[in-house]
Every structure is written in structure tokens, then in C-alpha cells.
Symmetry: C2
Subunit: 267 residues, 2 copies
DNA sequence: CGACACCTTGAAGAGGTTCAAGAAATGTGG
DNA sequence: CCACATTTCTTGAACCTCTTCAAGGTGTCG
């Protein structure tokens, strides 16, 4: 469980200092906590609509048909699979990727706890990308027809679903900007800042993170070769902006990173 | 009006031959045709759900609050504008683009008749991109709260809205693949094939098209400089794959284009 | 401890960009 | 309707960034 009350997961270290974007409270581990899906979930505020009445909340909780554990390296779904459910990530970390006919593939996103995965499958009732766990993970399986059914009755849920999809569209717009107009170091800086921001919203440090993906996966996401990613990291280290020890990254100068992102190379 | 019964618009030439993906029938220009929004619209099959009962169709038609004409070069909405409606393009051609803080901008899409624009605005109730008409255009204004209201009652509409958003997500996945892993000529070939396919679905030729955008806009979309786009066009001409006269493009060898897209440069 | 996956770094090369100039098309105002 | 200004497009040459190829180092897991 993604719970600040338990010892920090082997993944990223939770920080206890204040200033989080959302207020994550420790939840005692009672039998109820296990049975009742969402109302005691720390991620509720990330993956559920706000402002529900208790009755509505009860009903929305019933959307979750099951939990599913996915081992590191296993796929949650893959291109061509029949679509039936969206997945809310409870713990763990995923990548999604699309493949071209001639076999190249492109990482289209990295998803962490509280994020929703599977939206690509709605149009054609088949998934068009692969979702692979980058660390042991657990997801809530939410059958989409149940979501549709209930969102006809609970306005807040309907709105929430629309927002989640729109958010994904906006995110992808941002990635297009990155891929279409940024240089290697700008891309990497933007990538790090984005990860940090999302981790921070989950209660982790803004100054430290553990990458769950390889240089090659980062490169695929950023439209670069793994060597280029590695060199960009080394450059940041030389410039005193970060410390890097394999996948452990410590940020020494956030401002410098921000400056790199929107400077258009004219320092 | 986008009507095959009327003389071909000054834009792309409609073809009368069969084999279209959707069956567009000529509609006589009666007063009714003007008054009733969707039921006689040639684009119905593109922007409306299928399988509605006549009563449902009546209700869905009422979503369209107004029509709006946009002159070439004018903006339909821009980054920061309050979001209230989606827009269905009746005639004309748009581009959408996002801008980074330091002023670079990236074309994120080109939209043609029958496509829906404005989905980016749903998350934050503000638009995050600009939508600019590349030729005189007319759109149907569909207030989003009305869409939400009605899609609670008409299942087919609800499903349709979800599919439209999911389709946009999948489209953007494809653009990410293009931007992240293709070479200049592959990008241009993929771009042309995509335009041709969409135009063909609207009854236009598969072998000819008129670009509504500049080389610079194509370049922005494809993550290339305008000179590179121009050179790629010239290369295609040299290779006998297309004829190009400014914005008029005639396809001489569709197969060659397809081969370029998924060949990974190893001919 | 050895095999394997992952990461770093160097050197050479290719593809795309930048800068520059000129040609072609388009629009505007007289 | 024509002349001129402006925008758009093409092409060349030099340059730069990223890729490719190669080798060696580091870390991890059975």
C-alpha cells in the first residue's frame, strides 16, 4: 500500500515535511481498510472525483471490480487486447508504449500511483498500446461499462471521467511540444521536472528521485538514443545541477533545470 | 456547405467515384436543410453517434447552440480562453498549436470538416492551445454542459463523446511515435498519407490534395524546419513519388509513400 | 562468482538546422 | 487591372546536434 504511515516503500522515499499539494493522511490498517476500496485509499483525491455525497461515494466505490497485481516486467494489457476496463494504479509504476508496423516502438508515457491507464482502448474497443509494469504494481480494475453506467447518475463522476481524458490530451500536447521543439538537454530537464512535480504531489521529495526506467526507456519517451540521455545526465552533473548514481538522482539546482527548459538555448 | 451535390468547393476536389469509407449522399438545398441542424448534415456520420432513435436524434440536434463563422487566419479560441463549448467543424480547416513559455510553438494538429475541436479545455475549464482557421470556416458550437447533460440520458451520445476523446488520445500517441522515431521523409510521407486518408473518407480523391497550411506549419507539426519539409518534398518529386506545385500535391505512387513510412530507412 | 543487463564515454558520421539568396505566388492599393 | 510589397517556397553551403559504432565499466541476480 502506498501509505505514509508504513515504512517508506523501497521505491521513492516519502518525506514527512509539509507543503504537499494534496494532504495525504496516514490510515490505520484495519480489516475495513482492506475491504472498503476507495474511501480509505490514500489516492482517493487523485483518482476519484471530489465533492461526492457519502451515498455517491459508496456507489462509486463499487466500480472497482477487482484488484490485480502485476509483477515487474509483466504487461497489464497489450496492443490488440480487447478493452473492457480502465485501471487505477494503486502502487507501482508503468510505462505505455506504441509500436509502428516495422517494429520501432515509442514510450508514450510513464504512469504512477493514482493515475488512470487504458483510455486508449475506448475508441476501438481494443487497446492500441502496451502497458508494462516497471516495478511490482497493483491496480484497481474498473470495468468501463460500469463507469459509463454510473457516470450517467453521478454528475461528479461524469465530469471526472471527462477531465481525466482531457488531461491526458493536454499532457500529450505537452509531449508533442517537447518532441517537436526541444533539444536533448531541454527534454531531459523537462522530464525530470515533470517527474519531480508528480512525485511531490504524492508526498515525495522535490529534490530527489529514483528512476524506475532505463536510459533507453527515457530515451524512447524523449525521442533520443540512450547514449544521448546518458550524456545529458553527465552534462548536468558536470554543471553541478544534479547528482546521479545510476537511477538515483539528487537535484542540486532546480532553478537551473527550469532555466534549461525554457531558454531556447540562448543563455 | 460541404456538399457533393454542389460544385466542388474551391478547396479540395470532391470525387464522385465510389469506394468511400462513409456514404455521403447529396442533399437538396431546401429551407429545412438550413433550419434543421444535424439530421440533414452531410457530416452527421462523422460527428454524431450512429444508431439513434428519431427522438434521440431530435434531442441531440438541440445541442448545437449556434453556428459560428471564422475567417481565414482568425482564432476560434486561444490559450487561456475560458472553456465552455466543443466545436464541430462544418466547413473549413483548422490548426491547433501550443506554446512554451519561451515562445516556441508547436502545431499539435490539423482539423477538417466533421472533426471536433476544443477537448483540451475540459480539464481546467480553460483552453490550453490556440485554434486558428487556415481557411474560412464554419463550426457548430456545442456547449459542453449541454453535452454532459444529454449524454446522461442518451447512451449512444455518452459513448460517442468517450470515443471522440479516446480517438484523440490515440491520434496523439501516433504523433508521438512519429516525432520520436521517424526521419524527416518518413514523417512527411506519414503526414501526407494521413491527410489523404481523412480526405478520402470525406469523398475526396486519394491521389490529389491541396495543402491548407504553409511549409512552416507542416514543419512545426512534424518537428522539422520548413526548409527540411521543402527538401523532403523535392526529394519525393525527384523520385517520382509525387508532383508538387506549391500547395497542390498529386500522388503518383502511393505504395512508395507507404514503403517510406515503415521501412526504417533500410530499403 | 559469473553472466547479464545497464550505463558511460569516445570518436566518427549522418541528418537536420541555420544562414543566405533568389524565385514564385499572393494580396493590396492606386 | 496592374505594380509593388509581402509572404511563401526552393535551393545551396557551412555548421551543429544527435546518432552510430565501439569498448569498457558498473551493478544486479541467480
Amino acid at each position: 500500500m502506498f501509505d505514509l504511515a508504513t515504512p517508506a516503500p523501497a521505491t521513492n522515499q516519502a518525506v514527512s515535511s509539509g507543503g504537499h499539494r494534496i494532504d495525504i493522511k496516514p490510515v490505520p490498517m484495519t480489516p475495513q481498510t482492506i475491504k472498503v476500496a476507495c474511501s480509505n485509499c490514500n489516492l482517493r483525491e487523485l483518482c476519484m472525483p471530489l465533492g461526492l455525497t457519502p451515498q455517491e461515494l459508496d456507489r462509486v466505490e463499487e466500480i472497482v471490480a477487482a484488484r490485480r497485481k502485476i509483477k515487474r516486467g509483466a504487461t497489464l494489457f497489450r496492443n490488440g487486447d480487447r478493452f473492457s476496463s480502465l485501471f487505477a494504479i494503486r502502487t507501482g509504476f508503468f510505462k505505455t508504449s506504441v509500436a509502428s508496423e516495422d517494429g520501432r516502438d515509442q514510450v508514450t508515457g510513464f504512469q504512477m500511483a493514482g493515475e488512470i491507464i487504458g483510455l486508449d482502448g475506448i475508441v476501438n474497443e481494443h487497446h492500441t498500446c502496451d502497458a508494462i509494469a516497471l516495478e511490482d504494481a497493483e491496480v484497481c480494475v474498473m470495468p468501463f461499462d460500469r463507469i459509463e453506467e454510473l457516470s450517467r447518475e453521478v454528475n461528479a463522476l461524469q465530469r471526472h471521467v471527462h477531465k481525466i481524458m482531457s488531461r491526458e490530451i493536454v499532457r500529450e500536447n505537452g509531449v508533442m511540444l517537447l518532441l517537436g521543439s526541444m533539444r536533448a538537454e531541454e527534454r531531459l530537464a523537462a522530464f525530470l521536472l515533470n517527474l519531480l512535480q508528480r512525485l511531490h504531489a504524492r508526498g515525495f521529495s522535490q529534490l530527489e528521485l529514483v528512476l524506475r526506467m532505463t536510459r533507453e526507456e527515457i530515451g524512447s519517451y524523449l525521442g533520443l538514443k540512450l547514449e544521448t540521455v546518458s550524456r545529458a545526465f553527465s552534462k548536468f552533473v558536470d554543471d553541478g545541477i544534479v547528482e546521479v548514481k545510476q537511477r538515483h538522482v539528487k537535484i542540486l539546482d532546480t532553478e537551473a533545470l527550469k532555466k534549461i527548459v525554457n531558454s531556447q538555448q540562448c543563455l
